[in-house]
């Protein structure tokens, strides 16, 4: 660069500066003008309302499960402080990613995709680690899963399938709510990951109170794994469903 004459460089950079300057754009196309002339007032999006709708979709199955199934039988034998602290972690894992996915920063239209992705990753890692590292069992009361793979896998699938019933409705309702954002599949995938992770965390919170099985591996990989799988389902499905719903609703 030092060999280049500075005056010559300044002249060369003009080539970049003129990119700012373009002739005025043409008028709106006839098709666009026709659509504008035909338009009616629209009801705009209220992010908090979207959040409540998606949260309601996620809460349906856990509410039914709490009403139907008994609480875990070792509940009375577990340290109350630990139980409450872990419940708060699961609840935060639900609320933080969901808010990141659906509430834009003040003054913005789009939720922050980068923030949603960070929230999904953080919730997934944290809740798996909470399960693996901070699970407490009540000896003699908590049922520990079989050490053999087949038994462990059966219980893993049982709890993971529970998380599907929480994550999937949230992702589907979220997709319909966000179908008109026009922000692209990559952005929607990030929002979907956060919504799916939130669903997985709500499932984990429910299982924290219901699942009679303990053991760090079970809680970390089955309950925490629900957050990871929920995030993956959200990232894959939300752009797809939003695209289908968007096309279906277009005149």
């Amino acid at each position: 660069m030092s060999e280049v004459d500075s005056a010559e460089l300044a002249a060369e950079l003009e080539g970049l500066r003129v990119l700012q300057a373009t002739a005025p754009p043409g008028p709106p196309s006839p098709a666009l003008l026709a659509s504008v002339q035909r338009m009616r007032p629209v009801r705009t999006r209220v992010p908090l309302r979207t959040l409540l709708v998606v949260a309601a979709a996620a809460v349906v199955f856990p509410t039914a499960a709490v009403a139907i199934y008994p609480l875990r039988r070792d509940l009375g034998a577990l340290p109350p402080l630990w139980f409450a602290a872990v419940a708060v972690a699961w609840l935060a894992g639900f609320l933080i990613p969901l808010s990141a996915a659906l509430l834009p920063r003040p003054g913005q239209v789009l939720p922050d995709g980068a923030r949603a992705r960070r929230a999904a990753i953080l919730a997934s890692l944290t809740l798996v680690l909470v399960g693996l590292l901070f699970t407490v069992d009540a000896p003699g009361v908590t049922i520990l899963p079989a050490t053999r793979w087949a038994g462990f896998g059966h219980l893993w699938w049982h709890c993971i399938s529970f998380s599907f019933k929480v994550s999937i409705p949230a992702v589907l309702v979220g997709a319909v709510a966000l179908r008109k954002l026009a922000s692209g599949a990559a952005h929607l995938a990030r929002l979907g990951a956060a919504i799916g992770a939130a669903g997985g965390a709500l499932s984990g919170l429910t299982l924290h109170g219901l699942c009679p099985y303990g053991g760090a591996a079970h809680v970390g990989l089955a309950h925490g794994g629900g957050v990871v799988i929920g995030a993956l389902i959200g990232a894959l499905w939300l752009p797809l469903v939003a695209g289908i719903a968007g096309r279906a609703g277009r005149p």
């Binding site: 660069m1 030092s2 060999e3 280049v4 010559e8 460089l9 060369e12 950079l13 003009e14 080539g15 970049l16 500066r17 003129v18 990119l19 700012q20 300057a21 373009t22 002739a23 005025p24 754009p25 043409g26 709106p28 196309s29 098709a31 666009l32 659509s35 504008v36 002339q37 338009m39 009616r40 007032p41 629209v42 009801r43 705009t44 999006r45 209220v46 992010p47 834009p104 920063r105 003054g107 913005q108 239209v109 789009l110 922050d112 995709g113 980068a114 966000l178 008109k180 954002l181 026009a182 922000s183 692209g184 990559a186 952005h187 990030r190 277009r250």
Partner: protein, 212 residues
Amino acid sequence: MAQTGALTREQGAGRPADDGRMAALMDRYCGGEVAAFHELYAALAPRILGYLIGLAGDRATAEDLLQLTFMKLHQARPAYVKGANPVPWLYTIAHRTCLDEMRRRKRAWVRLSSDGNLPYEPSVDITGATDPQPSADEAEIARGLAALASLPAPLRQAVLLTKIQGHSSAQAATIAGTTAGAIKVRAHRGYQALRRKLAGPAAESAAVVGTP
């Protein structure tokens, strides 16, 4: 050449007053006011066109993409949040529209000649007579676009948004869906690469030799 597309931070992009005006226009547009659409188009179309020219590499394609972008905005009005600044959203739609269209057309961002520059396409007047030589401005724009097109897509977007369109790093990050820090790094790298390319092959080889 008209200088309507030029917009720096000092001139308006990203200023609160400008943001507030755009939000008010968008509110009225969502309320079904046709005049608000025309005001919004007049205010934003030049900026978006400048961005799309930088992305797509030629004005004709960018004009088509501009119309598609505003059509998508029109269809997406129910997703607008009342009182929010629609400008970053519109840039995001424009970027997405450009990527989709380029993918659909299955062609390169720009067609370069063997020496890495944009080929000269003679313009014609209404009688069909061709312009014998490109003007100095056209040649400069072609060089600038060719240099810009040679950058990797994330660097190109960051340079376009911050150095050329005059957005702050935070606003560019919102548009690009990344962090302000990432935008700063990409814009710096992209601008350095662009300077080397515009300064010619001697500067590029000097930079390569000087790289540790």
